[in-house]
Symmetry: C2
Subunit: 426 residues, 2 copies
């Protein structure tokens, strides 16, 4: 009997995890590699950053998720090199994160594959201004979310202690760069935090006077949505007191301020929701990549010349009907399912994305949703958003706890997880 | 009209927070200072360290807790010096935790008081071996709990990747130093984590074979409890597979091993629950202190010669009926209430502790409880423990969410918050 084909999956996000689960009944041995031990439900990451949810409520250990699937093993390690000619992946175990165990040599491990699925995702891109990284916090991981939470909450605490009015004003100014879904959701949630949850808990400052500026380089926020939905979102942001600046280019981010369209905007906290770049391992495959480093895949999501290597999720560049598919969870999920079908059935059908609908929230009871045949705005869109996100969360316990948290926040206007933990080294 | 007396409280733990709340109707202005923005329910900290609860479920922002109390202001700052002659406290704002704001000078602030309540608590003590600190993680703060959680979970992940049997064995050996309540609870919870929650999720290792060693220098674990309760606890630990070594002195803790009673015990993870030392600010008051740095207070909890300065909680050394009061939450709470009564009523009655009972859990459905007139062990003690801790938690939402988590863990044997986040610098 021949050995079962070995499938290596790099990345336990929506794409990689879906592929692993979809291979449940396939006669293959799957190795799922991730640098982190947990899968994160990214669409709710901004709620962790704004103190509405706990990290544990939107993340689950990857090995827990696949615990009943005996053909999958999970390794906490970083894929450092891929050799597509020899069909090997070089893994570094993430030993460097475990100080106090310094005598353990950093292990490395070479694994062979018959099929490789690269789903390593994306990271922040600062448009050639890597010096902005330290100041302008991005939001991709739980650790990122905790950095943002800490900085936002510390800004209010420091303002309470600050006798100088200008410095206080600066501390209470929050700039969100990037007007896509993440930027809009962050700005909206931050406005609610300051307008409601924190409003009456300080003695020297008035948190509800915090200035929140949302900067978008393009002509409008939420460019992926239809004009009437965008108009609704702009109105909802305005009602929350968020200043929206469109067509505005950021030219500098320093310790004191953000420079936008020639104007210096003194700001205590700067959040980055503007650019993403594909994970560097994409370039290591030897396949053509686009400007953001995304791999230009074949119609079946494999790479040219290597039908056994697939790239999915945010790391893949897929064009459909003349437009690139967006870097969102449903795309990654469907790509993961497709690749699992290709591997188990060995059918080489072209991938085709069926859009289940696009959604964004702009705070309490305000959202927009586009289901293709019809659109929703306001409370009803928000209920739809809630419903979809609760259903998609991994794990019944998470669903239950998140429902409790949301119900609590809805009726009390409170943000529960306002903890300043950890230290900022960034 | 004379100005209202100014009360400064240093520390937002059980003692300081209780004092602030008990001064609600007193005609005083209270300033509550803490280095952290949150109050932690310390009796459940070990459950955060062992992935059973989220940080946000056992902690609440201090300013949220006192939000309706208009005579309290809360400052996130560190008390650096106390001048009891001039009645001033020098505060350093915790600016150093906010990098990326480097241009803000570290503010300092001098506050005057009419009454001072020092409730700064305790920290770990390594019996003169500060070089053990890095390896032997203590458990006092949320950040400590997250360090322990990360190290424990990483040990299993690294063992899964480790080809060498000896190294694997070492990674799967956990040593808990200190057989008091914290040590017993940590060892028990860790045993359950490895025996149940992780048991079937790895492919190369068997987490349920993890070796957990609990080391106590004295003749028995849980010395504060009666012999029959201690015997029950020892039995429960044994059933969980915890090796208990009593009368054993640790002579060395290094990167590879713990040396105990002349024997080298190779260990991947070392937890410290053995010694506490009072916060350094206690010595700055000029009052006599005991060997652990605790302030020897007068019967009314003030310091000699300064009836306007009080020390409470783990920082105070109070002897009652010839025995020192333990460093537990009920003592701090009652001391906080007492001092508030002294300040508002100006009565100088001696403090007297009424013990509501002592409890400790040794894992799932096993606990011991001593209520003075009667003792409980096993399931019924565990239910009593559960009930008491849920009721004492701050905030209805926390109670609700913790109940959900515990019910979930009870019926599924799972540990939900198994996230490896942050990086170890310690």
């Amino acid at each position: 009997m021949a050995a079962r084909p070995r499938v290596i999956i790099i990345g336990g996000g929506f794409g990689g995890l879906t592929a692993a689960r979809a291979l449940k009944r396939a006669p293959v041995d799957v190795t799922l590699v991730d640098r982190r031990n947990h899968h994160v439900f990214q669409p709710l990451l901004y709620q962790v950053a704004t103190a509405a949810l706990s990290p544990g409520e939107i993340a689950s250990p990857i090995r827990w998720i696949v615990r009943r699937q005996s053909n999958v093993r999970v390794l906490l390690a970083e894929a450092q090199r891929v050799d597509v000619a020899r069909r090997t992946v070089l893994l570094a175990t993430t030993g460097t994160t475990l100080k106090g165990h310094a005598t353990e040599p950093d292990g490395s491990l070479t694994l062979e594959y018959d099929y490789l699925i690269v789903a390593a995702g994306a990271t922040h891109a600062y448009f050639g201004h890597d010096e902005w990284r330290e100041r302008a916090a991005g939001l991709k991981t739980l650790d990122d979310a905790l950095v943002i939470r800490r900085r936002m909450l510390l800004a209010f605490e420091r303002a309470e202690l600050e006798p100088d009015a200008d410095r206080r004003r600066r501390l209470l100014t929050f700039v969100v760069i990037g007007g896509g879904a993440t930027g809009v959701e962050l700005a909206g949630a931050l406005a609610e935090l300051s307008r409601h949850a924190l409003a009456h808990e300080f003695r020297s400052i008035h948190p509800d006077t915090a200035r929140i500026v949302l900067i978008e380089g393009g002509p409008d926020v939420l460019p992926a949505f239809l004009p009437p939905l965008r108009a609704f979102a702009r109105g909802a942001l305005k009602k929350l007191g968020v200043e929206v600046r469109t067509g505005a280019t950021v030219t500098s981010v320093d310790d004191d301020a953000v420079e936008v369209g020639g104007e210096r905007l003194p700001a205590g906290t700067v959040l980055w929701a503007a650019g993403v770049a594909a994970a560097p391992i994409g370039r290591a495959l030897g396949a053509p990549v686009d400007r953001a480093g995304r791999v230009l895949v074949e119609p079946d999501l494999s790479i040219p010349g290597h039908p056994e290597v697939f790239v999915i999720g945010d790391l893949a560049s897929v064009t459909q009907d003349g437009r690139p598919l967006p870097g969102v969870a449903p795309v990654a999920v469907q790509e993961g399912e497709h690749v699992a079908r290709v591997i188990s059935g060995n059918s080489r059908r072209a991938f085709r994305y069926r859009n289940p609908g696009d959604m964004a929230t702009i705070g309490r009871a305000a959202a927009i949703a586009d289901f293709g045949r019809f659109q929703l705005t306001g409370w009803i869109a928000w209920v739809a958003w809630l419903f979809v996100h609760i259903l998609k969360l991994t794990g019944f316990r998470n669903r239950l706890v998140v429902l409790v948290q949301w119900a609590w926040a809805y009726f009390t206007y409170q943000r529960s997880i306002r903890l300043i933990t950890g230290e900022d080294r960034g």
